[in-house]
Symmetry: C2
Subunit: 210 residues, 2 copies
């Protein structure tokens, strides 16, 4: 199926990692077209021809970043446990997703850039992997709501809202910092407290009638 296991020397491992890290930084800010190999090479501390010794093209670097991304990106959602209590499960999901926005803001921006452009290079993955997982978890949420253990909210749009509110702190970090005005301080603790309260309130099931 996949390519034969590539033999990698120590130097290959180190330099490929340097390149991917630098490329993540540049692509996540400038988008694919806006990024240049020179920027990436400089950020990686390598010469441009040397970088192209490890990757055949700009496309290849970008593709390798995107491939690795979606899997880890969806981990928090995979962790939504059908056996757990609905409300804590969903609040836990929100917390994990926010944690990812804090820990991997560059990955979040890379993804955002890709979607903003209409998802030209990731369309296939979204259509299959992403949609399957979301549909599965949406069904779970719908079941919980049907059992009266959760507020009756559209599951797909609920997932969208969780993505939006959590990734906002990575993708729009510049705006968040400017508006809060405390440019040194970490907005994530307050964000976590707010989102926990928001979803705890919104998702609490209606009072049982009669």
């Amino acid at each position: 199926m996949s390519a034969p296991a590539p033999r990698r020397t120590r130097i290959q491992k180190r330099n490929r990692a340097l390149i991917l890290d630098a490329a993540l930084e540049v692509f996540s800010r400038q988008g694919f077209r806006g990024a240049t190999l020179d920027q990436i090479a400089e950020a990686a501390g390598l010469s441009k021809p040397n970088m192209l010794y490890y990757f055949p093209s700009k496309e290849a670097i970008h593709a390798e970043l995107l491939e690795g991304l979606l899997d880890t990106w969806l981990d928090p959602l995979r962790g939504l446990d059908p056996a757990g209590e609905p409300l804590p499960e969903l609040c836990g999901y929100v917390r994990r997703k926010l944690q990812m926005a804090r820990d991997f803001p560059r990955e979040s921006r890379l993804f955002a850039n890709e979607i903003l452009q209409g998802a030209p290079r990731i369309d296939g993955l979204l259509r299959t992997d992403l949609k399957a997982l979301v549909d599965e978890k949406a069904a779970l949420i719908a079941r919980w709501a049907g059992e009266g253990r959760l507020a009756p909210l559209d599951p797909h749009h609920l997932i969208f809202s969780i993505w939006a509110t959590t990734q906002h702190y990575a993708d729009f970090a510049a705006q968040v910092e400017l508006v809060l005005g405390e440019e040194g301080r970490d907005p994530f603790p307050a964000a976590a407290a707010f989102l926990d309260a928001l979803y705890a309130r919104a998702l609490a099931p209606d009072r049982a009638q009669g």
Copy 2:
């Protein structure tokens, strides 16, 4: 203060509008660096030198788009009425903001692109106009919450969450369509119903005690 009123012929009005519309389309997808004057010229149906007869540079086109943007972008928030009932006021704000995402998705993406890059060309405006308005409305929301007419949620993060959830439907439209799977259908009616329910539940004040 501002430049002397520019005398504009019919042709100037038409062609400037053509250029700005084409540029909005291209910049909002590709970002500033990723967009090219040739793309914009082709989308506008003009030759590149002709386009540069109306605008001195690529930067100038982009700047003109950004300048016009923030004002209309903040209109829904300005409409938050201190004299109104807190809950309907905020739900109305959510509705107006979602309507803007539906009617002006390119503007939303242009803004998102700019913030993703760290807001290099709009930093000043955000620091002054945006922050002032947000602080004013956050104070209003805090007052409402203090009076027990609204749930006690952090006002700044509440505003962030409204921005995030509504703009999501413009900026991440490609993903929303793919996940919902009904690629022809309009996701906005369901989104409006969901967001109205979400915020109505989350923002309802706690039951008065004793």
